[in-house]
């Protein structure tokens, strides 16, 4: 019984973690694509916002201009797709693995930038947020959530025989 309660609580926490990641990616995608000024939404304003995000990606000084443009224009829509994929719960092992790898990559480049004393913006949720201890801790938390969801998805496969036996004994 206690095991069942513990399992239920853990399941709830993992669901909350998954929802947190969904919200994170939705906010991240929105912040990168929304008009950066008082201008209304339009294809032109999205193009400008993504070009602005490209400058943020370029400031890490890791990629060629071509690669920067590719990342800057495809990452926000991919974040949106990932949010919806996580929300659906379909193929959760794969979606959470992709999430973990993506967030792991983000924090790795941020750590590199911080260690090189680059005074640049994270770019995680639009322009203006400098890379520092706060952004690093926050993104480390996101990675932890993603790992938890992935591990939870792995463990929620077919039930083990001993767990079934305990369940059967409790019912009897």
């Amino acid at each position: 019984m206690a095991e069942a309660k513990k399992s239920s609580a853990m399941g709830l926490l993992l669901e909350l973690a998954r929802v947190a990641l969904v919200v994170t990616f939705l906010v991240a995608a929105y912040a990168k694509m929304k008009p950066q000024t008082a201008m209304p939404w339009s294809l032109a304003s999205i193009k400008t916002s993504l070009s602005m995000f490209a400058m943020g990606v370029d400031s890490y000084q890791l990629l060629s201009p071509g690669a920067v443009n590719f990342v800057a224009h495809w990452l926000p829509p991919f974040e949106l797709f990932l949010a919806l994929w996580l929300l659906s719960g379909k193929f959760l092992k794969l979606s959470s693995l992709v999430t973990t790898l993506l967030l792991g990559g983000f924090i790795a480049v941020q750590i590199r930038s911080f260690s090189l004393h680059q005074e640049i913006s994270c770019g995680c949720f639009g322009p203006g947020e400098r890379i520092g201890p706060v952004s690093l801790l926050r993104d480390a938390l996101f990675v932890a959530l993603a790992i938890a969801v992935f591990v939870g998805a792995l463990r929620s496969g077919p039930k083990r025989a001993d767990t079934d036996a305990v369940g059967a004994a409790t019912v009897a």
């Binding site: 950066q36 443009n69 400098r130």
Partner: protein, 193 residues
């Protein structure tokens, strides 16, 4: 005035730099220079330069003084280029005058020297202005202090930092080394609106 181009250009870029900052040097050489030769020359962008000497750089305040003094006689562009082109040399030696004098006709340099006479002050860099205190009133320090105060409102947390304006809209500040193709794409997106 420390500006490039025409005020009537549709896009304005305000940039805050430190002459001794290596990233600012790279930004000037690889990004700002091609932009000045292309988009500023064709009237698309107006660049306004602001000084933001950082305390960690021993000579950046003095370099900013030389640049402002040169601006007083209409030689800002050549002196800025000379300072960045020879950044490694004067960072090592502290001898800025050599490169500033070589960047302009001698009669203009005499005028610059006169402006700089009360401003020569070796010694520890003053916090928070990033410039060494002068034994006599140094008029051009006021321009640098104004620039720093403006930068603190942005806020500038590192150099280079730049802010774009287009059609009355101010875009969020961006920092760091940005390559010209990427910056050009952003400016083009503004111009296409």
């Amino acid at each position: 005035m420390k500006v490039y181009g025409s005020k009537s250009a549709p896009v304005t870029m305000e940039i805050f730099t430190d002459y001794q900052c290596p990233t600012c040097g790279a930004f000037f050489e690889q990004t700002l220079r091609p932009m000045i030769n292309d988009y500023v020359a064709s009237g698309k962008v107006y660049v306004i330069h602001h000084d933001f000497p950082l305390q960690m750089h021993a000579y950046s305040g003095q370099a900013a003084r030389w640049a402002n003094a040169a601006a007083e006689v209409g030689q800002f562009e050549t002196v800025e280029a000379a300072l960045y082109d020879n950044q490694a040399a004067w960072t090592a030696s502290g001898n800025l005058e050599k490169y500033v004098s070589a960047a302009m006709p001698s009669k203009d340099f005499e005028r610059v020297k006169k402006i700089m006479d009360p401003c020569a002050a070796p010694g520890p860099v003053d916090a928070p202005t990033g410039i060494a205190p002068s034994p006599h009133p140094c008029a051009i320090d006021n321009y640098i202090i104004q620039d720093i105060q403006l930068g603190m409102k942005v806020p500038v947390t590192g150099t280079p930092t730049f802010v774009f304006y287009h059609k009355g809209q101010k875009y969020p500040a961006t920092s760091g080394m940005i390559s010209w193709p990427i910056l050009k794409t952003f400016v083009d997106s503004l111009l296409s609106q």
